[in-house]
Symmetry: C2
Subunit: 195 residues, 2 copies
């Protein structure tokens, strides 16, 4: 596959979710694969790049991730809002959601997890760090990011570059019930003067 | 203090951070108090309302929270971007940041943590759930929300209500290095049709 994405340095990978976007979690084990939406994720460390993400223990994705030990995180864009909500509303146990919703995927370069570019601004491949207690008590899975890439029209130089020129690539942030707020205007703050 | 905020039902409290805003963490122990910015937080459960938040073990806030067992989460608005970045750039060990940056606070109704309304769209009081391993390994603190309130001009009926009419109350999402993206346009997705 010809990719429009460019690699993101691992030291910058956590910036992809620093601002709290809703993500798509992808997984595969054997001949089963899945894609679901997840509003609850965050970085926990920049270097090595590590994240925490909530994946309900009742989901098909959680079953595949527990079995394979890895998953993908794709960051959907404003133009992909219908598919994002759709894959968050239906279980993969009812059939392959990539096929059902016409979502093209390819295999990640390091872990081989299914990843998407059409409809996404970036992706990461993640290796689960087994933490039985938090997975059980809080559905919170920790993972290390082992590869990442992004659309250079939206993320370059280690930072998101949101502007009116790339509005269709802006990230989605779930408010609940299918309502998403799109990343809007960028504003900058100055460091405080020394006291 | 006369409050413009209205209580948020605990079942809706996690919606306040569902979309990934940068938050201000407030804390107090004895005669010391602090306020810092944190980009990394997420809900982990709606009911009971529980969150995870990354607070570096080297910070003064972490010391106060470990000693008191609770903290506040205030959700700053676009109009408060300078103060948000400032309290994230300076340690509370160098002096009281509320005074230094002219931030008015009051005591939370349940836990007595310092909370702010000027510059915030909402707040939560949180009781730490001690989890020694994740606090140590990932600086990740779990907590239960025990009270919450929000500005009804920005959050009502259990949902954020972002529009052009309340732009100064929109939430901030940190991109890194003092650059924040403000919550923008709201778009809605429809549930997929049954297969």
């Amino acid at each position: 596959m010809q990719s429009r994405f460019e690699p993101v340095a691992l030291a910058h990978a956590c910036r992809l979710i620093n601002h709290g976007p809703t993500v798509l979690v992808t997984s595969r084990h054997g001949d089963k694969r899945n894609i679901m939406a997840a509003a609850w994720s965050m970085p926990v460390e920049f270097s090595p790049p590590r994240i925490a993400i909530v994946i309900d223990k009742a989901t098909f994705s959680r079953e595949l991730i527990a079995a394979s030990g890895h998953f993908g995180v794709c960051i959907p864009t404003a133009s992909f809002v219908q598919q994002t909500y759709a894959v968050g509303s239906v279980s993969g146990r009812e059939g392959d959601k990539f096929e059902r919703f016409g979502i093209a995927s390819f295999d990640g370069p390091v872990l081989g997890v299914p990843l998407i570019e059409d409809g996404a601004a970036a992706w990461m491949e993640c290796r689960l760090i087994p933490e039985a207690h938090t997975e059980d008590a809080y559905d919170t899975c920790f993972a290390e990011v082992v590869s990442a890439a992004a659309d250079p029209l939206a993320f370059s130089g280690g930072h998101w570059q949101f502007s009116d020129a790339n509005a269709s690539l802006h990230t989605l942030h779930h408010l609940g019930a299918g309502n998403f707020v799109v990343a809007g205007k960028v504003i900058s703050a100055a460091k405080p003067a020394a006291s």
